[in-house]
Symmetry: C2
Subunit: 247 residues, 2 copies
Amino acid sequence: MTGIEVLAVEGVPEVNPGDDLPSVLFEAAGGSLRSGDILVVTHKIVSKAEGRIVDLRSVEPSFFAEDFASRFDKDPRHVEVVLRESHRIVKMDRGVIISETRHGFVCANAGVDASNVPGKDTVCLLPEAPDDSASRIHAHLREKIGVEIPTIISDSFGRPWRNGITNVAIGVAGMNPLADYRGESDPHGYPLEASVLATADELAAASELAMNKTDGVPAAIIRGYPHDPGPGSARELVMPPERDLFR
Amino acid sequence: MTGIEVLAVEGVPEVNPGDDLPSVLFEAAGGSLRSGDILVVTHKIVSKAEGRIVDLRSVEPSFFAEDFASRFDKDPRHVEVVLRESHRIVKMDRGVIISETRHGFVCANAGVDASNVPGKDTVCLLPEAPDDSASRIHAHLREKIGVEIPTIISDSFGRPWRNGITNVAIGVAGMNPLADYRGESDPHGYPLEASVLATADELAAASELAMNKTDGVPAAIIRGYPHDPGPGSARELVMPPERDLFR
């Protein structure tokens, strides 16, 4: 049967600020990677390596953060960091802040989160430029193994109307994140409608199935998926404002 | 390396109204299925087998459907079917109808779509009760091969704020569609937050990577994913109204 494989990258050590993540990933996965593979890396280790962690003891909450936090029994310093990482608040109610980040992503708490970070007063931010983070890994792997390995940085986001979070792509390098079937036909010859697939998001979702949140597997290799090579950018996964019915 | 496989189920013949889909799927995939596998089936063949197709020549559009269709150059009969399948209109603009279906799913055109259906005047609806459709396949496979094969019915939905559609689960049988990590801890001992994963949606997304929209592969087997057995229902993937910030 034809198909794809999603393989857990094990043996990635604890990552600390300043670590050379592309080298760490090459050490852990380089021997397994082959032409055609895609590497998906959870943003948490990217953020840590890039020093995108904040010690809450250094944060002075604003009046607005204090007020919101007190009404919903939240840590005002955490709320303050969320507000600083937000470009725009989309919804703010019942203790939940849904915001648009500077990257254009809409997610809970602007992607600021406290799990999988050492220290109870520490929170992790999204990478400053996840496409660039993906590009650095992609370039390092090309240099080391002589093969193009498209690289996706993932995070898990909630969605309106549906319960539970799913992994999505927040950084992309080396592949087109969308597969556009418009203009092609189905087996009946009928033109395919509404057929731009967010394949980078589907790859990110698939990668999650091979990681286990509690085991600390921070990367996966997807083998056998016929991706569309290209420079790529997760910006393509952001709905353009003029087409966004939910803005 | 440990991981999962996503295998295309090939050789599924064209499905027609009245066909016994569980038997068709057993014929195509039964010899390959093993304990631990999950079967993902695209809703299109489920809807076809269940006769959930509509000949637009038999549809009399309402005044409202005519009006909306004329403003956006749409087929008023198609709009009429979308309205009939809608429980509630969530957004309606620029020729797009986002509605809540009777199942509680929020999606474009109430899931009514014209691709992969024979005949240019034919549209396909969502299955009436996709959980029941999944249960029938699940029960038939158990009877035939003596193994529990959790079964997911998938469709591809758009999402607010993000570009492109992704496969999600609209029917589930034999597994819990959510993995709840709340109360568990990360490798640092910190409690995992916001950690209810919509794994059935991630499995649906992964399955799409092994199908090819233009090749007509309508099902995939996911092997090696440690699912959580249970009766399951896609209703659990619908955000409860009282927790839905987007209602």
